[in-house]
Amino acid sequence: MTGGVTARAALGYIRPGQMHIFANPARFLRLARPLTGWFGWGGALLIAAGLIWGLFVAPPDYLQGDTVRIIYIHVPAAWLGMAGWAGIAVASLMQMVWRHPLAAVAARSLALPGAVFTFICLATGSLWGRPAWGTWWEWDGRMTSMLVLLFLYIGFIGLADAERERGGEGRLSAIFGLVGAINLPVIHYSVLWWRTLHQGQSIGLTRSSIDGSMLWPLFVSAAGFTFLFGAIVLMRMRTALARQKVEARLRRMAA
């Protein structure tokens, strides 16, 4: 392909081996600009639909009553907290192996939204735990490993900023991003390895123990938060690329 990345290309006409074309920041921006709006507004609409459905239409749980409605924000926040770090790990690998020029920008752009959603997961979980379990916090496997994820995000943000200020390539933060991914299976399997307060896995790939009347608004809400997360990451990548461009131009003008 010689021209810009077209919508046709974005919709699947690119083979996995050709993904390197997105390494070009100009091509990336041509795709990112329209996608930011679609993801942002699409995500906002889905979130509104999912939360209204979950708050006012979905039934209360037979055991927990209305507190189960916290699931429509708690589960998407948990999913995005983990997905954010999975994205950092993939971007870190791309940076280490292929020296993809956008990989470090992507990893840095994922970190803050990932940290915010991990915090939202912990805070909403605490607000759910008080009426459901009678406690705001318990040092069980799931909650502790999510707290560790929040600390990993804070560490990554600090390390990546420090490296960038020193003019480094971001290799240290890439290593940190890869090593930190060890925590993801710990979070996932924590409810199986350590049986404490947090409930076990209730949503699987093939079946779920949650009734459809609660599961569908959860899917809508999770899809909405995921699209909005994508829009936030794209905006942060556009910001970083614009700042790099300004810095480079100012350096050229000063020379």
Binding site: G40, I47, L51, L55, G65, D66, T67, R69, I70, I73, H74, A77, L112, P113, V116, F117, F119, I120, A123, T124, L127, W128, R130, P131, F225, L228, A231, I232, M235, R236, R238, T239, A242, R243, K245, V246, R249, L250
Partner: protein, 43 residues
């Protein structure tokens, strides 16, 4: 125990966090891209 204060608190934390992050990110992006446009105009 009344559950709704906990539910509203959780939704409040999530909405303030999400809207705050989105608004701040959008404002930073606009500011950075305007700076690029301003440098282009100077040339």
């Amino acid at each position: 125990m009344t559950h709704w204060p906990f539910i509203l608190g959780a939704y409040g934390v999530a909405l303030v966090g999400t809207l705050g992050l989105t608004g701040w990110t959008f404002a930073a992006m606009r500011q950075a891209e305007r700076a690029v446009d301003a440098l282009k105009d100077e040339r």
